[in-house]
């Protein structure tokens, strides 16, 4: 019965996704959504991938990483090389970008994840910058002027498919024994080890998976904007992603999605007032940290149950007992 219930909610989620896709795609095709908002919708999708994958590392496994833009850059450049220089199909290029970023995440994760807390944060910040500066000095991929002439393969459909795929895979991972192992590392590393969890393995695993999905986001990014430029992947980009993770709630996927949508939307809406953008952005964060330091959703997930508690009030909340 439990299984049936799970399958039922899976199907409902799928139907909801298809509905959202159909609505937005129709609006795009009928030109109700213009090019500016189309661009921002694609950005929202890319940001969701980045935020959810970083949340796996920071929120669920509790390893504070702030070099996510570096892995995004690897994905952007590797996939661009694959489509431009090797004429591979887009899907193969995305896989290549993900593999490249994942492999680097693995190689970097092994030594750095021995560190914890602030030390890990500093190390990953440095790594993100090292990746960017290394790319800046490789003339094969255009160096400081960026990698130009990338075909625009990414459209709303590609973006939507990969966003759903990312959320699906990471959510399932977290709901499995492997995800519980990651969460146990966050909760109490010594106890996790005493319960037979190979903590090093799961830290590196979460880091690798997170990096691979950042690579996917990078691939979609460079194939939307025709260009991959080192300036797109500075530590400011890493902070942007981190901000969304914290705003949504460390350890909440629905929080990550909400925050990615909200912040991308806000910064797009404020695009014509660039001088106000950062002020409003920071004010939002200050207010949030004062009144809700655990983020919008804390470590909870938005569910139908939660919604019915909000709308149904006390009557439902007390009788549900769960």
């Amino acid at each position: 019965m439990k299984l049936l219930q799970k399958t039922k909610s899976d199907i409902m989620a799928l139907v909801a996704c298809l509905a959202v896709y159909a609505i937005i795609q129709t609006l795009i095709l009928t030109d109700v959504i213009g090019p500016f908002w189309q661009l921002n919708i694609v950005l929202i999708g890319i940001n969701i991938i980045l935020v959810v994958s970083l949340n796996l590392i920071n929120g669920f496994t509790g390893q504070f990483s702030i070099g996510h833009a570096g892995f995004m850059a690897i994905g952007a450049y590797v996939s661009a090389v694959l489509t431009v220089k090797f004429q591979l199909p887009f899907i193969a290029a995305i896989a290549g970008g993900a593999l490249g970023a994942g492999a680097l995440g693995f190689a970097i994760g092994l030594p750095t994840l021995r560190l914890n807390g602030d030390y890990l944060a500093i190390a990953t910040l440095g790594l993100g910058e090292i990746i960017r500066i290394t790319i800046l000095n490789i003339s094969y991929v255009g160096g400081a002027s960026g990698f130009m002439g990338i075909p625009r393969y990414t459209d709303f459909t590609w973006m939507f498919a990969f966003t759903v795929f990312t959320v699906f895979v990471i959510k399932n991972f977290i709901d499995s024994t492997h995800g519980r192992a990651c969460i146990s590392v966050r909760e109490n590393e010594i106890a996790a080890e005493a319960m037979g969890v190979d903590t090093t393995k799961y830290k590196v695993l979460a880091f690798t998976i997170g990096a691979a999905f950042a690579g996917v986001a990078g691939s979609l990014f460079s194939h939307y904007f025709y260009i991959a430029h080192p300036a797109s992947f500075t530590f400011m980009k890493s902070f942007d992603i981190l901000t969304m993770v914290v705003l949504g709630g460390l350890g909440s996927i629905s929080g990550s999605i909400t925050a990615a949508v909200l912040l991308t939307f806000v910064s797009a809406a404020l695009a014509s007032y660039p001088e106000w953008r950062m002020i409003i952005y920071s004010l939002m964060l200050i207010i949030l940290m004062l009144y809700r330091p655990q983020g919008l959703f804390g470590n909870k997930e938005l569910s139908l149950k939660m919604l019915s508690r909000w709308t149904g009030g006390k009557k439902h909340g007390s009788t549900q007992g769960n």
């Binding site: 439990k2 299984l3 895979v169 399932n172 991972f173 709901d175 499995s176 024994t177 492997h178 995800g179 519980r180 192992a181 969460i183 146990s184 909760e187 109490n188 010594i190 106890a191 996790a192 080890e193 005493a194 319960m195 037979g196 969890v197 190979d198 903590t199 695993l205 470590n299 769960n322």
Partner: protein, 254 residues
């Protein structure tokens, strides 16, 4: 044959010999106590047995195989589970999830199966859930399965920690001061529980304890540790009347 055998175990921190020449032999099915005054090295000895510290010298054999050099999680997978002096639950997780994690290393489905929910995923997850709930029922925590672990009362947190350790299906259970912070009545209940789980799960238990009534009441054999070395061993009766033990606890007679 002994289930656990530690020979000449020593560890040196800087200039301090926290544990030296620690010899312990535990046969399958025994319930053994390890006592000693504050700072005698009891918890350090536990940490040596569970791989948290690596011994400077000496040998540890569990189930006929050496465990020296193994990491804590590998030792747990071999069949030694433990609880902690200061409770270490997964504080922000539900009671049920705390127990589920103990099944982690028994799970066979792989990464890809978990990401796409295919293959053995559904069947094994259902089994884990069922087993974990059964466990909570045994420890009378089933009605609190969805509560967050840190919100449980102290006594129940202790019980949950023991339940979690047992869910890993160990052969040997190490309990580090299970009665710490409990009142006499709770200690009494704990004593009964320890006896019961030993029988029910066919376990071997080694427990560290300060509470003399608990140790004397429940243990079949007792080791006494003082200044890092074993100074006496025997039945509770023998230990009670051992002059060296009395000296270690109460000081030398003038």
């Amino acid at each position: 044959m002994a289930l656990l055998k530690a020979t000449k175990l020593s560890i040196v921190f800087g200039g301090l010999r926290a544990v030296s020449n620690f010899n312990v032999e535990i046969a399958p099915g025994e319930l053994v106590g390890l006592i000693g005054p504050n700072g005698a090295g009891k918890t350090t000895a536990f940490n040596l047995l569970t791989g948290v510290y690596q011994p400077t010298e000496g040998q540890i054999e569990f189930d006929g195989k050496s465990t020296v050099g193994l990491k804590p999680y590998q030792i747990t997978q071999r069949g030694i589970a433990r609880t902690f002096q200061n409770i270490r639950l997964f504080a922000d997780l539900s009671v049920l999830d705390n127990v589920k994690i103990a099944y982690h290393f028994h799970v066979k489905y792989g990464l890809v199966e978990s990401m796409f929910r295919i293959g053995r995923y559904h069947k094994e997850e259902a089994e884990i859930e069922e087993k974990a709930i059964k466990f909570l029922e045994i420890f009378q925590l089933a009605d609190k399965k969805d509560e967050i672990a840190k919100n449980l009362p102290y006594g129940e947190q202790r019980r949950l920690e023991i339940a979690r350790a047992l869910a890993a299906q160990p052969k040997l259970l190490l309990l580090d001061e299970p009665a710490a912070g409990m009142n006499p009545q709770e200690t009494q209940q704990l004593m009964e529980m320890i006896r019961w789980i030993k029988k029910e799960f066919n376990l071997t238990i080694l427990l560290i304890e300060h509470d003399m009534s608990l140790v004397m009441g429940v243990c079949e054999r007792i080791y006494v540790l003082d200044y890092g070395s074993i100074i006496a061993q025997g039945t509770p009766m023998e230990i009670k009347n051992n002059p060296r033990v009395i000296e270690a606890y109460l000081g030398e007679e003038v």
